[in-house]
């Protein structure tokens, strides 16, 4: 009884493992070669054409706003101020960019954006990495609640936090100060970076760290010398992602900063919208300047980001 059960289970498992392959392969491979190939392929090709057309329509819909942004940034103002704009520009100009960079507070806005984003991301990366190491490597009481907090914090609507944060920063005299916004940004990206780095921590084999410790490293030394270099690509991805999030943030910067010369780029962009109308050419040129670094960074990290998220999901 006891000996037969595992044996039957094993054969069953083997059957299960091979069953789908066996059921399909004999059907598919020989069937394809002799007679099914021509008809099937033509049918598939015909279908594919239909699907491809649908795919191209989807492409046009999804890409059109991006295309319009780029085209309009280089479009002369007299074309923008016409009731019937052609879908492609008749002439190209850099006037919009010149006008945008000459708009008041452009350079201080770049400076503010850089100070706020870089500082908050560096802080979040430092705190996030050590926290991710803790939840990725140690099994301690409170680990699970901590992870729950990380997720729940991301579910809180930012507008719900805006008012008390505003009141609190006002009481601390941090309104209109860089550090107030920096702290807010740091903590807003912290849960996500921690979660993402954790995915990469889990992917570094424990054995590496252990062998380093056998060789006489302390736990921290093993981390800095062995794990950290292996984490580098993941850290880069997480930091760029955090940077993008901070770079795009608008609401808190708008509410917490009151001086024009402390506005971040996103708030500065509102300069193009006045009560008398909107300078769309300038707005689009400014948008391109803000969006281009984001798009480039995003394209670099999106694959790594997906890898980090899914590895964390599968191996959690």
């Amino acid at each position: 009884m006891t000996t037969s059960t595992p044996a039957t289970r094993e054969t069953e498992a083997r059957k299960k493992a091979t069953a789908p392959e066996r059921a399909v392969r004999p059907d598919r491979k020989p069937g394809r070669k002799p007679d099914c190939k021509p008809g099937r392929k033509r049918g598939r090709e015909k279908n594919r054409l239909g699907y491809n057309i649908l795919g191209l329509i989807t492409f046009v819909v999804m890409a059109f706003p991006v295309y319009w942004l780029l085209v309009s940034a280089f479009r002369p103002n007299r074309e923008i101020r016409s009731y019937d704009q052609p879908l492609w520009p008749n002439s190209i100009t850099f006037d919009n960019f010149v006008r945008a960079t000459e708009t008041r507070f452009f350079w201080t806005a770049i400076q503010s954006s850089l100070i706020i984003c870089v500082t908050s991301v560096l802080g979040a990366m430092l705190i996030g990495t050590i926290a991710a190491f803790a939840i990725g490597r140690f099994n301690f009481i409170g680990r699970k609640p901590f992870m729950m907090v990380l997720i729940m914090v991301q579910l809180l609507p930012p507008t719900a936090m805006l008012i008390p944060i505003y009141v609190q920063l006002n009481a601390m005299g941090a309104l209109n100060e860089y550090w107030g916004v920096i702290v807010v940004y740091l903590v807003s990206v912290l849960p996500f970076t921690t979660w993402m780095i954790r995915g990469f921590v889990i992917n570094v084999p424990k054995e590496l760290e252990e062998s380093a410790m056998v060789d006489g490293c302390t736990r921290m030394a093993a981390f800095w010398r062995v794990i950290f270099p292996l984490l580098a690509p993941g850290l880069a991805a997480a930091s760029i992602f955090a940077l993008i999030t901070a770079w795009n943030e608008y609401l808190f910067a708008y509410i917490l900063m009151q001086d024009n010369d402390k506005y971040t780029l996103n708030v500065w962009l509102m300069n193009f919208t006045t009560d008398r109308g909107t300078d769309y050419g300038g707005l689009m040129a400014g948008s391109v300047m803000i969006a281009v670094p984001v798009v480039i960074f995003f394209m670099i990290v999106q694959k790594k980001m997906a890898a980090g998220l899914t590895s964390g999901a599968v191996k959690g």
Binding site: L54, V66, V187, V294
Partner: protein, 332 residues
């Protein structure tokens, strides 16, 4: 899985030391206690800064939100720093008795349902379509999706606002090309139904890439053999989808749908920016409503009470999301 992993792998951490020190037992006993305590404290030291930071910026303000919603904080209290008077449940009874609040809540729910349904439906269809495309079309489409995904909300909203601009908007000029239709100078935002169509468009356009790319990744997990076996057994495309494909992607689908509910319920920036930072009352969703009460009417307590009600309304969805996460094994 992790628990088993850590338990199985943890002894070796201490293990390699043991063989070396297995002979002389007493010294090890002398060393161990101190090591053990630092070892046990270490993870807490590591998560300490994160806890403090999250506590300072999220937990404390959340407590503050609750406290403030039972007070009456206005501009005077904000600047003077006096403790605002306690009013008990007055803010809540006032809000819940206000017909405008219910109108805003209703509008928010309808807007969320429309956006989530459209996002998930289009997202799923596009993801299924991606599987059937030639490689070059798929790459083209993926490029467009990534570009749309990475577009900052502010930029995307600016573009869509321009699309709908009454004088220079491309929507009006394209619609006017249809014979017999004159949309020139048409203001889309006079009628909130039309205005919300534009706002929904930017929300859905912005959300689709994430949904498509995630669902497409999930679809690649569906075993081809199963699909083909079902086809051989005579299942139509719909049958294959319902019985084979969907069950595999269901956990991911539910997860994204739940996230979309949370995100679309909290839509703020799109409306706020679309209406030039001062949305009219008929464009108020719960987030905007709370913001307006706090910053335009200077009734911070009412604003926080509305925000708190929003969080409570969403907490059910959030709990569902967490349970999904637990079930699919992302946490532990």
């Amino acid at each position: 899985m992790t628990a088993a992993d850590t338990q199985a792998a943890d002894p070796p951490v201490a293990g390699p030391r043991d063989p070396g020190g297995s002979g002389p037992r007493p010294p090890r006993d002398g060393v161990r206690p101190s090591k053990k305590t630092t070892g046990a404290l270490l993870p807490y030291l590591l998560i300490g800064p994160a806890i403090i930071a999250i506590g300072a910026v999220f937990a404390w303000p959340l407590v503050k939100t609750v406290v403030m919603s039972f007070q009456d904080m206005g501009r005077r209290e904000l600047w003077s720093g006096e403790t605002p008077p306690w009013v008990g449940f007055a803010q809540f009874t006032h809000i819940l008795g206000d017909s405008q609040f219910w109108a805003v809540t209703f509008r928010t729910v309808v807007f969320m349902v429309v956006c989530v349904t459209a996002t998930m439906a289009f997202g799923l269809l596009i993801a299924l379509l991606m599987q059937r495309l030639s490689t070059w079309v798929r790459l083209l489409l993926t490029g467009a999706l990534v570009a749309a995904w990475s577009m900052p909300l502010l930029v995307a909203t600016s573009i869509f606002r321009w699309f709908a601009d009454s004088d220079y908007g491309v929507v009006n000029s394209l619609l006017s090309k249809v014979p017999g239709v004159d949309f020139q100078g048409h203001n889309w935002f006079l009628n909130p139904w039309q205005g919300f169509t534009i706002i929904a468009a930017v929300v859905i356009w912005g959300a689709i890439p994430f949904v498509v790319i995630t669902l497409y990744a999930a679809l690649t997990q569906v075993p081809k053999e199963l699909e083909e076996a079902a086809q051989l057994d005579g299942a139509g495309p719909l049958g294959v989808f319902r019985n084979v494909v969907f069950p595999v992607i269901k956990p991911v689908f539910q997860m994204i749908a739940t996230l979309s509910v949370i995100w679309d319920f909290n839509v703020f920036g799109q409306v706020f920016l679309m209406r030039g930072n001062k949305p009219e009352p008929e464009y108020e969703l719960l987030g905007i409503y709370s913001f307006q009460k706090a910053f335009s009417s200077s009734s911070f307590s009412q604003g926080t009470a509305i925000a708190l009600i929003t969080v409570l309304l969403l907490s059910g969805v959030a709990v569902y999301y967490l349970r999904q996460l637990l079930k699919t094994g992302e946490v532990e």
